[in-house]
């Protein structure tokens, strides 16, 4: 690596330094736009006791779901885990801890974490179980709860294209949580389908500026589809 060049050549290098008990923030929605090879590397490393902050936990045998096989995850912070049977089993049997978090609150926790904002007030969840123990404050006649932001020891994200400096563009709805996750890691690792030279991407079209990216790697992606719905052509 030299200057602003963030490119690493192996997945071992990409995830080097990940240790037991760390917090990892992951981009992706369902299995769309997930950093699938970085997740596979975590499985290979066998790192345990992880806290994973991600909207979902993949599916059985897919995405973050593969980290459940060897019980590498201690705690998940997610909004929706309905498609994952193993997740449900481990949760109900007490092996896995989960902090179910509203999707918008989760996105904002990452955004705020990356922006140096330690907490924020939101109306979401007021009057529900998730408000228990949280500070409540009234603004303009409406009640809001205080939610703390999140910063990860690592953030793992998937983009479409990036230049070697880590300036990245996402493709379609594979963007989802990736831009916020990218800002919220002490070490942010990004994998992409294509790495180009600095100057090749239009600066005005960059979704994630390279300042947030510490390591960048080009991979090949399976891109499985969770629910394939089609109409007659």
């Amino acid at each position: 690596m030299a200057g602003f060049d963030k490119v690493v050549n192996t997945y071992e290098e990409a995830m080097a330094g990940l240790e037991d008990g760390m917090t990892v923030i992951s981009g992706g929605f369902g299995i769309c736009g997930i950093p699938e090879n970085l997740i596979k590397e975590i499985k290979k490393m066998g790192t345990k006791e992880l806290t994973i902050v991600s909207n979902n936990c993949g599916c059985d045998g897919l995405g973050l779901g593969i980290l459940l096989d060897d019980r590498q995850i201690k705690k998940m912070v997610s909004s929706y885990v309905g498609e994952n049977k193993l997740f449900e089993e481990q949760l109900l049997s007490g092996v896995l801890e989960v902090e179910l978090t509203p999707q918008g609150t989760l996105a904002e926790k990452m955004r705020a974490g990356g922006a140096g904002i330690p907490a924020f007030y939101t109306a979401t969840g007021y009057g529900t179980d998730i408000a228990k123990g949280k500070d409540v404050r009234e603004f303009n006649g409406r009640k809001y709860i205080l939610e703390e932001s999140v910063v990860g020891d690592f953030a793992i994200v998937k983009a479409w294209k990036a230049d070697r400096y880590g300036n990245a563009i996402y493709r379609h709805t594979a963007q989802n949580f990736n831009p916020m996750a990218a800002t919220a890691g002490k070490i942010t690792v990004m994998e992409v389908e294509e790495i180009v030279e600095p100057g090749e991407l239009d600066p005005a079209q960059i979704h994630t500026p390279g300042i947030y990216v510490d390591r960048l790697i080009q991979g090949t992606f399976e891109k499985r589809i969770e629910i394939r719905t089609v109409r007659e052509g």
Partner: protein
């Protein structure tokens, strides 16, 4: 006859107004996208980060990178935009979405909704539902009127953990269209061939029944 899932979607689609930005939840709400009435333009918002959701793709158009909040493959409509989930929830939480349609396990006569958790049983998560009910003024809940054991889902008070308190004003079930105000359900329409008696029997919360309850037409 109870309404089919598609009939429920068709009925909800009649509530759409020209120029509406609409968020559709997982399940039956997602089907509403297939039944937007002629002559009406709406933009469908999908909370993963898409405004202007189009129909399902043809086989050739299927793209793993383009899905809706139900994780189904979709297309973009003309004039669509795509953005991050934080931007998406800024729209929702900022009150910019005109109509929200979502599913539920239970709704009560105070307008509270439980849609995300059955303790000790099914763990699904709230997804974006808590954000949507907190951010939207205009919400339609869609669900079956009773569970598979015949127990009413329209209750005096929700028994399950809440998604939001006092926020639901309209419910479409497979049997009826109801409004909620003054701490009561109000029967507005019934499914074709479904008797008022059956709806009364399957509504546990206080129900106000007008003299004439029109049948929905399809």
């Amino acid at each position: 006859m109870a309404l089919s899932r598609d009939q429920m979607a068709i009925r909800i689609a009649r509530e759409l107004q020209d120029g509406y930005y609409v968020n559709l939840g997982i399940g039956i709400p997602t089907l509403v996208a297939n039944h937007v009435p002629e002559g009406i333009e709406v933009m469908l918002q999908s909370e993963n980060g898409l405004l202007g959701m189009g129909p399902y793709p043809t086989e050739d158009e299927v793209d793993a990178d383009l899905i809706n909040a139900g994780k189904q493959t979709v297309t973009t409509a003309k004039g669509a935009s795509i953005f991050s989930s934080a931007e998406s929830f800024a729209m929702i939480r900022g009150g910019h979405v005109d109509l929200t349609v979502l599913g539920a396990f239970e709704v009560d006569a105070q307008g509270s909704i439980a849609s995300w958790m059955i303790p000790g049983k099914l763990i699904k998560g709230m997804g974006g539902a808590m954000d949507l009910v907190a951010g939207a003024d205009n919400i339609i809940v869609t669900m079956t009127h009773a569970d598979k054991y015949g127990n009413s889902k329209l209750l005096p008070e929700c028994t399950l953990p809440l998604t939001g308190a006092d926020c639901i004003k309209q419910v479409l079930t497979d049997l009826a269209y109801l409004e909620i105000y003054d701490g009561k359900f109000h029967l507005v329409e019934r499914a074709p061939g479904v008797s008022v008696e059956e709806i009364i029997e399957k509504t546990a919360g206080e129900l106000v029944v007008p003299d004439h309850v029109p049948e929905m037409e399809f």
